[in-house]
Symmetry: C2
Subunit: 195 residues, 2 copies
């Protein structure tokens, strides 16, 4: 909305765009203290600023990718890390054919240098885009080397990490199973029961 | 657990593995009628079967990918569509260098043939892994051609689709922002207030 020059927006309008009710929008915002004014709605630049503050987007966390395969390529070419408050410093892999090259300007380094790099550059986040069977081992190596957070893009569930390191996992299969559920007979028969 | 030969499990054990309380596990299962037996716990093969039934995994939906770039490569090489009850038939792209080839055994066809293919093969799901600025256009084309669901892996939000076609979007940025939030001062100061 800011890019479109919108200055003022109501909870009705936000709700319509997000497929939620105005009441849900107001309730959610109220969890953080509420930003609107009765009868006026929300000032768009101010709202954006407050949401960015809540989401920690004003601070920049540094990150490295582990596993420079196809998924990493997709991220490096298309994903706007800066918009999420993240600065991507490097990627790591084991393949001699990719180590020493760079993808979209990001250097690919050998996995053996991961711990040294994390310590030297005080890396905040490690992003896992490697084969699932290596996910836990690499997550632990990164956690022990000093990262504060792990963004797990493999389909492997991770156990609790040492040093209180946080894990955020994004499982593609959860998302596809959700769609499958809504397309299934099970969902249909449940809807029928409800109606 | 089935692969490990576990036959019987308690809500305590499931909760511990998922970072939830036993009570949450029981409450969630109760939403679907409850599968356990007081004092015994859950029979693992039976529980798995019931969950699969709820998730619609026993039915197979056919799917095609639109956009055969890096993300599609990653999916085609590593993602187990079959485990999600999905059979992947083909991928579509516009680049002459990829059209006519195949990736991990899946043929890449020209995007101009998308509608014909969807109709002829009664494709259930279209998977969007193309640049964000083309997402809405291609989603509508697929919806009008007869798919029942759209799995949106671009970072573009989609408007409601024609013909009641369902959309499930997976936004990588939501997941990374969540991690950023928990790593941020905002999260820390909130925790401090609560304690």
């Amino acid at each position: 909305m800011m890019e479109a020059g919108v200055v003022r927006v109501s909870s009705n309008e936000i709700g319509a765009q997000m497929g939620l009710t105005a009441s849900q929008i107001r309730q959610d915002f109220n969890c953080f203290g509420g930003f609107g004014q009765q009868g006026y709605g929300y000032n768009v630049p101010k709202l954006r600023d407050q949401l960015a503050e809540i989401l920690g987007m004003h601070q920049t966390n540094t990150a490295v990718i582990v596993g420079a395969g196809h998924f990493a390529h997709a991220l490096l070419h298309n994903f706007k890390f800066g918009n999420c408050g993240v600065q991507l410093l490097a990627a790591f892999d084991i393949l001699p054919t990719v180590v020493g090259t760079s993808i979209a300007g990001v250097p690919i380094r050998h996995i053996d240098t991961l711990e040294d790099y994390i310590q030297k550059h005080e890396v905040d986040i490690v992003i896992l885009t490697l084969p699932s069977n290596k996910a836990e081992e690499m997550a632990k190596r990164a956690a022990n080397a000093g990262v504060r957070g792990i963004w797990n893009l493999t389909n492997e569930a991770l156990p609790p990490m040492p040093n209180g390191v946080l894990t955020e996992s994004m499982h593609l299969s959860d998302s596809l199973l959700t769609l499958n559920y809504y397309l299934s007979d099970a969902s249909e028969s449940e809807n029928t029961e409800e109606n």
